[in-house]
C-alpha cells in the first residue's frame, strides 16, 4: 500500500519580481517499509520536496496523498495534526529545545497529541532507552555529544509511532564514525518495519538506503534501486523495539 502518492506537484516561489520553479513536475510513490534516499545538488528542489513530504508546506499545483488523505487541500491545523501523528522528523541540526532535557524533548510531540502526562513520561523514557540514552534522560542538549543529540532527535521522531521517518541530512553535522552509528540506527529502525525517507547530498550516505531518487532542476532525473547497498559495520549497542 502506498503511504505517499504524489502526482504532478509543482512549487512556485516569488522571489522579488522573478518566479522560481523549485519543483516543476514531480510524481512519486513510496510504499510502506521503504528506505528511500532523495539526492540532488543544491537548488535541485530537494529541500522543497522534503518540506512537501513532511507536510510543512503545500504544493502550488498537483496532488499529494498521504495515507489516502489529500494533503494539498489541508488547512494549517490539519497539517499540524498530520505532522504530529504521521511524521517523525530528524534534522541535520538536531533541532532540540536547548533549555529542556532529553526527556522533555522526547515528550514534546506527545504533548501536542494530548497524551496524558504519566503515559507520556513512560513512553519517552522507553524511547530514550531504545536509542541507548537511558542514562541521559535529564541531560540538556548542550550536555550531550552530537551523536547523542541526534539520538534524542531519533527517539523524539519514533515516540509517536509515525508512518514515516523523514531525515534531512541526519549525519551532516556529525563526524564519520558517529554518522555511521546513526546510519546503523536507521538500519535497525527500517528492519523493524518503519518507512524512512533520507534527504542527503552524499552518495555514501544515500547508499545505505534501498532506493535513490535523484532530483535536478525541480524534476526527477533518476529513480533507481541501490546497486551496492552499504550495510553499516558498526553494530548498534541498542535494540529498537
Amino acid at each position: 500500500m502506498n503511504i505517499i502518492n504524489i502526482e504532478h506537484i509543482a512549487k512556485l516561489y516569488q522571489v522579488g519580481s522573478e518566479e522560481v520553479h523549485a519543483l516543476r513536475d514531480v510524481s512519486l510513490r513510496i510504499d510502506k517499509n521503504e528506505y528511500v534516499a532523495i539526492m540532488g545538488p543544491s537548488g535541485s528542489g530537494k529541500s522543497t520536496l522534503m518540506n512537501m513530504l513532511g507536510c510543512l508546506d503545500t504544493p502550488t499545483s498537483g496532488k499529494y496523498e498521504f495515507n489516502g488523505n489529500n494533503v494539498s487541500a489541508m488547512s494549517d491545523n490539519d497539517l499540524a495534526r498530520i505532522r504530529n501523528k504521521e511524521i517523525g522528523f530528524v534534522f541535520q541540526t538536531f533541532n532540540l529545545l536547548p533549555r529542556s532535557d532529553s526527556l522533555h524533548n522526547v515528550e514534546l510531540p506527545m504533548i501536542y497529541a494530548g497524551v496524558p502526562s504519566a503515559e507520556r513520561k513512560e513512553r519517552a523514557k522507553k524511547a530514550l532507552e531504545n536509542v541507548g540514552l537511558g542514562e541521559r534522560i535529564h541531560h540538556k542538549p548542550n550536555e550531550l555529544s552530537g551523536g547523542q543529540r541526534q539520538r534524542v532527535a531519533v527517539a523524539r521522531a519514533l515516540v509517536t509511532r509515525p508512518s514515516i521517518i523523514l531525515a534531512d541530512e541526519p549525519t551532516g553535522n556529525l563526524d564519520s564514525k558517529t554518522g555511521e552509528e546513526i546510519m546503523s540506527l536507521f538500519n535497525e529502525i527500517h528492519k523493524n518495519g518503519n518507512t524512512i525517507i533520507l534527504v542527503t547530498h552524499e552518495e555514501y550516505i544515500a547508499d545505505h538506503a534501498l532506493r535513490i531518487i535523484r532530483l535536478k532542476d525541480g524534476l526527477i532525473e533518476k529513480d533507481t534501486p541501490v546497486e551496492k547497498r552499504i550495510i553499516p559495520t558498526v553494530k548498534p549497542l541498542y535494540s529498537i523495539s
Partner: protein, 411 residues
C-alpha cells in the same frame, strides 16, 4: 472540554518553563506590572480610606441637623455681602426656639479658642464650643464616661466642661477626668463628662474629639462676645425625612425673628451636612479620576513593556516555534503558549505588587485609616491577568502565524 483543560495545563507548564529559563528577563518584564498594580491598589485603598474617614466624621454631625448661621458653607453670594450681615445673637436663638414647632432640639453655639491646663499638662488654642444642655440632642455623641451638662447648668452658666476624647487622653492619660478641675483660659471648670472617639482627622479643628464643650453663658461672659462673632443655631429635625420641611419652617421663623420684609433677601444661611457631602464627593471624584488616570497610565506603560519584551522573546525563539510546529503544534497551541506566558508573568507581577501594596498600606495606616479590601485583591489579580492577555496577544499571534519552514531555517 477535557482536551481544553489538558491544553491549558500543558501550556501553563511550557510557560512556566520558559519563565524559569529566562529569569532576569521575566523579572524585568514583571517590574512594570508590579509598579502598576501596586499603585492601583494603594490608590484605591487610600481613596477608600479617605472616604471612610469622612463618613465616620460626618456621621457624628447627623444628617438631620440644620445649622442656621450668618455664614454660608457653600454659597454663590458675594463674600462682602455675607460679611455685612448682622450677627446672630442669643436673643435671636431664644425667639426662634419659642416660635419654631418642628425641631426636636434647638441649641445655640458660639466657639472660642482657649488654652487649657490641668496640673502640668497644658494645651494651647483649643476649640471650645459654648452651648446649652440641649446641644447634646443635636449630635450623635456617645460618652466614654460622665454626661453632658444639663439645661440647668447651662442656664445658670455653671463652670462645667465636657471633653473630646483626644483632649481627655492628653490631659488625663492615666486617670479618670470626671470631677477634676481644669483651667480654660485661666478659669476653673469642673469636668462632668468625656466623649468617646467620634470623628476623624478629616474634620480638622471641628473634629469633636479635639473640642471642649462648655455652657454658652460662660463663653459670652469670659471669652467671646456675640457682637464680634455670630452664634450658630443648631436645629434638629424629627427624622431625616422631615429635614426639608423643618428647613422651610426655620427659614420662615428666622425671617420673622429678624424682621425681614417680604421680598427682601434673608440675612442668614441655613447650612446642612448634605452640602459638605456634595463638596466632598466632588473632591473625591476628582482625586479618583486623577488617581485612576495616573495609575492607569503606569499600567499602560507596564503593558507596553510586556508587549515589547514578548515581541523580542518571540523573535528570539523563532527556531523553537519552528521546532514546535514541525512536531505538531497547532497555531492555537502556540498562541496559547505565548499568551499564557505573558499572563503568568503578569499574574506573578500582580501578586508581588499586591504584596508591596499591603505592606505600603500598613505604613499609610499610621496616617490614614486604610485596609486592603477583598475587592482590590480581586481587582489586582484581574487587572494583571487582563493586562497580560492583552499585551501578550499581538506577540503570540505573530508567533502563531509563522511559517514552519521559515521558522526552522531561522538562525
Amino acid at each position: 472540554m477535557k482536551y481544553f483543560l489538558y491544553e491549558i495545563k500543558e501550556s501553563l507548564f511550557i510557560a512556566l518553563r520558559a519563565i524559569r529559563a529566562n529569569k532576569v528577563r521575566s523579572i524585568l518584564t514583571m517590574l512594570g506590572i508590579v509598579i502598576g498594580v501596586t499603585s492601583v491598589v494603594v490608590m484605591s485603598t487610600a481613596i477608600k480610606g479617605i472616604d471612610k474617614a469622612f463618613q465616620d466624621g460626618i456621621s457624628s454631625m447627623g444628617s438631620d441637623v440644620l445649622y442656621i448661621d450668618k455664614w454660608a458653607w457653600f454659597s454663590n453670594t458675594d463674600w462682602w455681602k455675607i460679611r455685612a450681615r448682622k450677627n446672630l445673637t442669643l436673643e435671636d436663638y431664644e425667639k426662634f426656639r419659642s416660635i419654631a414647632k418642628l425641631p426636636i432640639a434647638v441649641a445655640p453655639t458660639l466657639w472660642t479658642n482657649q488654652n487649657i491646663k490641668y496640673e502640668d499638662e497644658s494645651l494651647s488654642s483649643i476649640f471650645c464650643t459654648g452651648s446649652t444642655g440641649e446641644y447634646i440632642k443635636t449630635t450623635n455623641f456617645t460618652f466614654a464616661s460622665g454626661r453632658f451638662f444639663t439645661d440647668v447648668e447651662s442656664n445658670s452658666s455653671r463652670y462645667v466642661a465636657v471633653l473630646g476624647s483626644d483632649i481627655a487622653k492628653s490631659l488625663f492619660p492615666n486617670s479618670n477626668p470626671i470631677d477634676k478641675t481644669i483651667k480654660i483660659g485661666g478659669i476653673d471648670f469642673k469636668v462632668v463628662g468625656a466623649l468617646d472617639v467620634q470623628g476623624s482627622f478629616i474634620m480638622g479643628s471641628f473634629n469633636p474629639d479635639k473640642q471642649i464643650y462648655i455652657p454658652i453663658g460662660t463663653v459670652l461672659k469670659h471669652f467671646q462676645s456675640s457682637k464680634q462673632r455670630s452664634i450658630t443655631i443648631n436645629v434638629r429635625a424629627a427624622n431625616p425625612a422631615m429635614v426639608a420641611e423643618t428647613k422651610e419652617e426655620a427659614e420662615a421663623v428666622m425671617r420673622q425673628v429678624r424682621g425681614i420684609k417680604f421680598g427682601e433677601e434673608s440675612n442668614f444661611s441655613i447650612n446642612q451636612q448634605e452640602g459638605i457631602q456634595k463638596s466632598f464627593d466632588s473632591t473625591v471624584g476628582v482625586i479618583q479620576i486623577a488617581g485612576l488616570f495616573i495609575t492607569g497610565l503606569s499600567l499602560f506603560v507596564g503593558a507596553i513593556g510586556i508587549m515589547n519584551i514578548m515581541f523580542v522573546s518571540v523573535k528570539e525563539r523563532t527556531k523553537e516555534i519552528g521546532i514546535r510546529k514541525a512536531i505538531g503544534a497547532t497555531r492555537r497551541s502556540i498562541l496559547g503558549q505565548f499568551i499564557l506566558e505573558s499572563a503568568v508573568i503578569c499574574l506573578i507581577g500582580g501578586l508581588i505588587g499586591l504584596g508591596i501594596a499591603i505592606i505600603l498600606s500598613k505604613i499609610v495606616n499610621n496616617i490614614l485609616p486604610t485596609s486592603i479590601q477583598y475587592d482590590s485583591v480581586v481587582l489586582a489579580i484581574l487587572i494583571s491577568l487582563i493586562t497580560g492577555v492583552i499585551a501578550g496577544f499581538a506577540p503570540a499571534y505573530s508567533a502563531a502565524k509563522m511559517d514552519p519552514v521559515d521558522a526552522l531555517r531561522y538562525e
